[in-house]
């Protein structure tokens, strides 16, 4: 305080602000007036108040009148040559002219540079769009942050498994006894055959309670929603309504479901968008309808241990998912007769449905979010590669322009003008690349949508998209331009023009590091792609225990198909198009259910292992072609086979039988004797071990018809014959079938998508790297033209020159390979740990990837080095 001058002063920043906004000509009088007033205020009101008033007055000067005068003054000033040549419009025009001439003069270089950057940007944009789409999942619901789905953890043996199926009475319990719930709805999803007039369609939809419609913010476009008293009512999605009824009004039309009951169309709703968990729900029917008609639902009405239905819930505002989950966790265990699998209920919030849907042993382990991170990092790396290229080429190019800088300076160019020149050139290129990348994205989007199974569009109207795109282009342009702009423009013209300034070795070190980084990434991606595809092949080649070829499945979802086993089978066999037919529970590519209610001699009483249950007809084994390793198949000759059981190898291992044939297994209160052992059949995840399973004869508990087409006929011929037979049994239902090998191939969808994307990015990364390398090699060759000329005069061969120019790049490749190998080993062995059935990380894959990168590099560089080596030395030495 002692240092303070006697006279009080107003805040300095206020004066600076005033100088900034007011034209220079007025500043003296304005500040004068302000100061005079300030002194009066100090005398009258004290210093603090005076300062406050001073600031207030100054801020009032930031008004349009002064600012526009200031801008006009600045514009007028920049026209006079003396001050700020950087902003002079004539100069800017000149920069652009020169920049365009430079681009046109070095066409190949400009093409490589702009094309490389544009493809990097395009990849980043595509991935950005993909991530945007993934993150926007389910956000359409109005009460997005309060919705949840009920899940439960159950413990069969060691690990907790998770299921999203619930018992029916739980919904009542939640509604009645827990105040945190605003709305609760049961739901179950089914494929249903819908018939209206001549139209027959099989579609997926849900049976839900009326509250559900509010929970998902259903957008009714015609008619009205169903209420608590509606039973035989249906809401159609707009697309299904037009598929069923075309242009005519669907309201109050009748639809027959699965050839049984009839419902009346109550309304039409806007389809759920593609980025929504309910995107496959094409119709909604009241739960009451399901409860009244479905035998399972009738049976399970008060059944606490029959878990087959989904429950959705909306919490009251302010309720916390974790706290509510803790409250409802033990609902089942607190009731009478708690089951051995110890269910723990919990809420899975809507925000996590799509991205965090995986659980392992009672803990959420993410899910699709892994891919968001994976692709996000690939996008960033791709962009980085492209930027590195852009900078490398720009800086390498600029060294050639040292002389230009010298001459410009000698004839009077200011440093700021040179800075402007270089910056405007690199900015121009970056902007052109941005525009080109938009074009690329627009062209690639349909294809990308197909691979990623999405329907994305460029966010033309999203300001954030433009901000990010333009901002990034600016940043790249500025970074790439900064080396020539700031470093080259500082050269002394005398030195440059005398030729003292040679590019020193140290100047090329950052460039080598960057090229090395590019190749490290490329090699890593190559190795990754090979491993992903090998893992897919490995699982595809795995013995699956039955034969897939020509095997089709038909769902028995109309009542007419039941009860005619023998006649249907005979009719099918008589067509000659079918070599085998059987019925079973569920598809060959799915496991419909299991039981812990099973015991055998020597079973340890403290474990409750889950065994997969399969109910089949006599001809099942012969139809699907399973492989018996011991014992016999079911046979009509043994009337005792209704109490016989067939186990798979995993079950035998689980039960620890030395001589399995003839052992007794008890399940559901009945004793079965083991008559046969079959090889493990892959029904579920092809990357996991096969679970212990058993097979029982049961003609009532089936829902799928398995048919083996005869190999003599073509598939279409055989199918049309099969269809004719089915039409005689169920004339009103469409004949819907699935090929088992198609269904099996779908299990690899995720892995194949990663593989394709990794492969695509690997190719792109290599392309970008090679473009950069090609450019760099050409500059190196150009810079050493004279040296090569002299060497040739002194007797060097083309091979010598080739070696000279390629050596440096070979070293780079070796170094980056040494980096890439351990990195990819680490990442990939981590990835493979996700799979219990996995391929080996063999050494030859790494060698192959390394050799691949090496040969691509050599090819790229050789073009330039051989060209340089073939030039007649007379020509290269004569110039100048």
């Amino acid at each position: 305080m002692s240092n303070r001058s006697q006279k009080p002063l107003p805040p300095g920043w206020a004066d600076r602000l005033l100088r900034f906004v007011c034209p220079a000509g007025l500043q003296e009088e304005l500040i004068g007036d302000l100061r005079e007033q300030f002194e009066q205020h100090v005398a009258a009101l004290g210093e603090a108040a005076a300062r406050r008033l001073y600031v207030r007055e100054t801020l009032r000067f930031c008004r349009p009148y002064f600012i526009s005068r200031q801008l006009r003054a600045m514009a007028a000033e920049s026209k006079t040559e003396s001050s700020s040549p950087f902003l002079n419009p004539a100069m800017i025009q000149n920069y652009l002219t020169i920049a365009f001439r430079n681009l046109a003069k070095n066409r190949v270089y400009s093409f490589i540079n702009i094309f490389g950057l544009a493809s990097g940007m395009a990849v980043a944009m595509l991935i950005g769009l993909w991530i945007y789409d993934e993150l926007s999942f389910d956000k359409q619901f109005k009460h997005y942050d309060r919705l949840a789905k009920l899940w439960q953890f159950v413990k069969f043996d060691v690990e907790k498994s998770s299921y999203d199926v619930m018992p029916i009475p739980l919904a009542r319990e939640l509604r009645g006894k827990y105040a945190d719930f605003e709305a609760v709805s049961l739901s179950v999803s089914r494929d249903v055959i819908m018939v209206a007039g001549e139209k027959k369609l099989m579609r997926q939809g849900s049976y839900v309670e009326p509250d559900f419609l509010n929970m998902v913010s259903l957008d009714i476009v015609a008619g009205s929603r169903f209420g608590d008293n509606d039973v035989n009512s249906i809401l159609l999605s707009r697309s299904l309504a037009s598929a069923m009824f075309g242009a005519s009004n669907p309201i109050s039309k009748l639809i027959k479901l699965d050839n049984k009951q009839t419902v009346r169309v109550g309304g039409v709703y806007e389809d759920f968008p593609a980025n929504n968990s309910f995107k496959n729900v094409t119709f909604l029917i009241p739960w009451k309808f399901f409860a009244a008609n479905d035998p399972g639902a009738k049976r399970d009405r008060d059944e606490w241990d029959s878990n087959s239905y989904q429950i959705y819930a909306q919490l009251k505002p302010g309720a916390d998912f974790d706290q509510v989950s803790a409250k409802i966790k033990d609902i089942r265990m607190k009731r009478d007769d708690p089951p051995g699998y110890k269910p723990e209920f919990f809420l899975h919030p809507t925000s996590k449905w799509h991205l965090y849907a995986d659980f392992k042993d009672g803990v959420n382990t993410g899910g699709t979010i892994t891919f968001v991170w994976l692709f996000g990092s690939i996008g960033v790396i791709g962009l980085l590669l492209a930027c590195i290229n852009f900078m490398n080429l720009s800086t390498a190019r600029s060294e050639k322009r040292a002389k230009e800088v010298g001459i410009r300076k000698a004839i009077g160019s200011l440093r700021s003008q040179l800075v402007g020149q270089f910056f405007s050139e690199s900015l121009l290129m970056a902007m052109m690349a941005f525009i080109l990348s938009l074009l690329f994205v627009q062209l690639a989007l349909p294809f990308f949508n197909q691979v990623a199974e999405k329907s994305m569009v460029i966010l033309w109207t999203n300001p954030l998209f433009w901000l990010a795109g333009l901002g990034f282009s600016l940043l790249t342009g500025v970074i790439a331009g900064s080396y020539p702009a700031l470093y080259l423009s500082a050269f002394q013209p005398v030195k440059v023009l005398k030729g003292i300034m040679r590019s020193r070795r140290s100047a090329t070190i950052p460039r080598r590091v960057l090229v090395g980084f590019q190749f490290t990434v490329s090699v890593t991606l190559i190795i990754g792609t090979i491993i992903v595809f090998r893992q897919i092949e490995h699982a595809k080649d795995r013995p699956i225990g039955y034969s897939r070829s020509g095997l089709i499945e038909v769902k028995m979802n109309v009542p007419e198909l039941y009860g005619h086993y023998t006649s249907l089978r005979n009719d099918l066999l008589n067509t000659g198009a079918v070599s085998g037919m059987a019925e079973s529970t569920g598809s060959m590519t799915e496991q419909s259910g299991g039981t812990t209610n099973i015991s055998w001699k020597g079973k340890r009483s403290d474990t409750k292992p889950l065994l997969m249950a399969n109910f089949v007809s006599h001809d099942f084994g012969q139809t699907i072609g399973w492989k018996l390793v011991a014992g016999r198949d079911f046979s009509r000759e043994f009337t005792t086979d209704s109490s016989s059981i067939i186990l798979n190898e995993a079950a035998v291992k689980q039960m620890n039988f030395k001589r399995p044939i003839g052992e007794i297994v008890r399940t559901n209160g009945k004793a079965y004797s083991v008559i046969g052992i079959v090889k493990n059949m892959v029904k579920e995840d092809p990357f996991s071990p096969v679970k212990p399973s058993f097979f029982l004869l049961d003609y009532r508990n089936v829902n799928t018809i398995n048919i083996r087409l005869a190999p003599q006929l073509s598939a279409s011929e055989a199918l049309s014959k099969v269809e004719r037979v089915f039409n005689t049994y169920s004339p009103d239902a469409p004949f819907e079938y699935k090929f088992v090998d198609d269904q099996y191939a779908r299990k690899f969808g995720n892995e194949e998508r990663i593989g394709r994307l990794a492969g695509g990015f690997a190719i792109l990364a290599i392309l970008i790297s090679c473009l950069g390398l090609f450019g760099l090699a050409s500059f190196m060759a150009e810079q050493r033209t004279k040296e090569i000329g002299i060497r040739k005069v002194l007797g060097a061969s083309v091979l010598n020159v080739w070696g000279l120019l390629s050596k440096e790049f070979l070293m780079l490749i070796l170094v980056s390979f040494c980096l890439a190998a351990p990195i990819s080993y680490y990442i990939l062995s981590d990835w493979l740990k996700n799979y219990q059935y996995r391929t080996e990380l063999s050494w030859w894959i790494f060698v192959l990837a390394g050799l691949g990168a090496l040969s691509v590099t050599l090819l790229t560089v050789s073009y330039q080095s051989i060209k340089a080596g073939l030039v007649n030395p007379v020509k290269s030495l004569r110039s100048e």
């Binding site: 007036d33 005079e36 007033q37």
Partner: protein
Amino acid sequence: MSRIYLGEFEELVLLTVAILNGAAYGLNIAEELKQRTDRSINLSGVHVALYRLEEKGFVKSELGGATAARGGRRKRLFSITAHGKRTLDEMRQVREDLWGAMTNLNFS
């Protein structure tokens, strides 16, 4: 009248310049106005009005001598031009005519 436009605040400032003839500058105009009109006047508004009046040719200005109170800065002194004086007269005339016309009305 159609050729000129003078806002209400500009008119007040122009009148004040006429009153303080020769010695008028931003701050004392503001103070004068504050006293006479009893409303809050800020300096920037007064300055904008002054510059606008000068652009329209109603006032002229010159840089005056420096005072210690202003940290040695000069002040810009404004005086009314003949055109400005005439405009004020015209505006007053128009108003008086209007007031005169109004006396015939009965405000009961």
